[in-house]
Symmetry: C2
């Protein structure tokens, strides 16, 4: 029924948002001697949104936005040595071993026996390649595409490039905004497997999310059964 | 004679190293009140080399390395506001309009009439996409590949992916290390068109460079004549 099954990577195959969340907590502690910041996540996100046009996604962008936010929140009083600590936070993030989500290894191995699998992930080329290599999953995926945005236009380009028709393409991911809605818009199929944390930027609410027709699974291990069911119905 | 002619982008199609060089000069001036730094370029390069395993290439990596270098060189005395200025340098770099090198627009337009053209560029996905879009050249290139490294293995992967045989593949670029030598190693052909500035990381000297057999052109406008000559000889 599907010529290609594509997976998002961050927070779909492996943990990601958790690492950002821990780092924001570290920044909060670092700044505590200057002032108490209730919503450090919200403060950083405001900077990130403003910087998205310059820096795009990924750990390096996040780090530059953390530094900018720290300078702002301390009225420029933060010390050079402390900013060096923020750069070290980034290096620690980049050194964190890739940790697969539950059931991912088994599910991917099972599906690879019967389907052509692909990764479509957004973010920094260098980070994403490192994580794919570390994940131990690389051999199961015939194609890997690292893109700077996940818009309907980007998905359309990929489908054309691989000669795929949308109704025979299935995308699986944790983000309605990036993995599900744009694929549905093109006439593709999509499965939403939520992650415990969602970055503010990826949150979609309201009629847009409710109107779209996609599958929702609680965990990755339910995917083979869903596919069997779809194949059965034809 | 060639199924695909591929071009490097930074310092081959458009100016790049000049922008980095100007920014390093700005950093030197910013730090002048703390101390006089003779070789700011060398200082930053040392940090960049150390950070390459974490951050890879591109303006964001360069910026994080500039910040780290500035903190080091001032023994942590640099102020938050000054570090904010370094982040603003990065934004200015990213806002600099893409400026094509001499003869590039005409040469690319001419060759696109008779050949399939490709861009193979190293660096940050987001930066490179922005520059390609801004360049006005996108329509001439059938394929665009943004890679995190330009090793023989990466070129081999690309040739396989596009079903190209090395001896019918020509790569054009300003870097012996990234554009010429790895392609020659695979049995491909390469043209070296030097840029006025070369980043220390890309410099190759000694027998490795001398032994390889590639074409050297002074400027891009000489490329159509070289191709005509090669086609004539068969």
């Amino acid at each position: 029924m599907f010529d290609v099954i594509a997976f998002d990577a961050d927070d779909t195959l492996w943990h990601n948002e958790t690492i950002y969340s821990l780092t924001q907590e570290k920044l909060k502690q670092l700044l505590a001697k200057y002032r108490d910041i209730e919503d450090i996540e919200g403060e950083i996100y405001q900077t990130e949104r403003r910087n998205l046009q310059y820096f795009g996604y990924g750990i390096k962008s996040f780090t530059l936005s953390m530094i900018e936010t720290a300078i702002e929140l301390t009225n420029g009083e933060i010390q050079g040595r402390e900013i060096n600590q923020i750069i070290n936070f980034a290096k620690e993030m980049l050194e964190t071993p890739t940790q697969l989500l539950d059931d991912v290894a088994e599910t991917v191995a099972t599906l690879a026996q019967s389907h052509t699998l692909m990764i479509i992930t957004k973010g920094d080329l260098f980070d994403q390649e490192t994580k794919i290599a570390q994940s131990g999953l690389a051999d199961y995926f015939t194609y890997v595409e690292i893109v700077s945005e996940k818009t309907p236009g980007v998905y359309r380009g990929l489908l054309e490039r691989y000669g795929l028709s949308p109704n025979r393409f299935l995308m699986i991911g944790n983000s309605l905004r990036s993995d599900v809605l744009p694929v549905i818009e093109l006439g593709g199929r999509a499965v939403h497997v939520p992650y415990s944390l969602t970055w503010a930027h990826e949150i979609v609410t309201g009629p847009e999310a409710q109107a779209a027709s996609y599958f929702e699974l609680e965990k990755m291990s339910q995917l083979p059964a869903l596919l069997a069911d779809l194949n059965h119905k034809g």
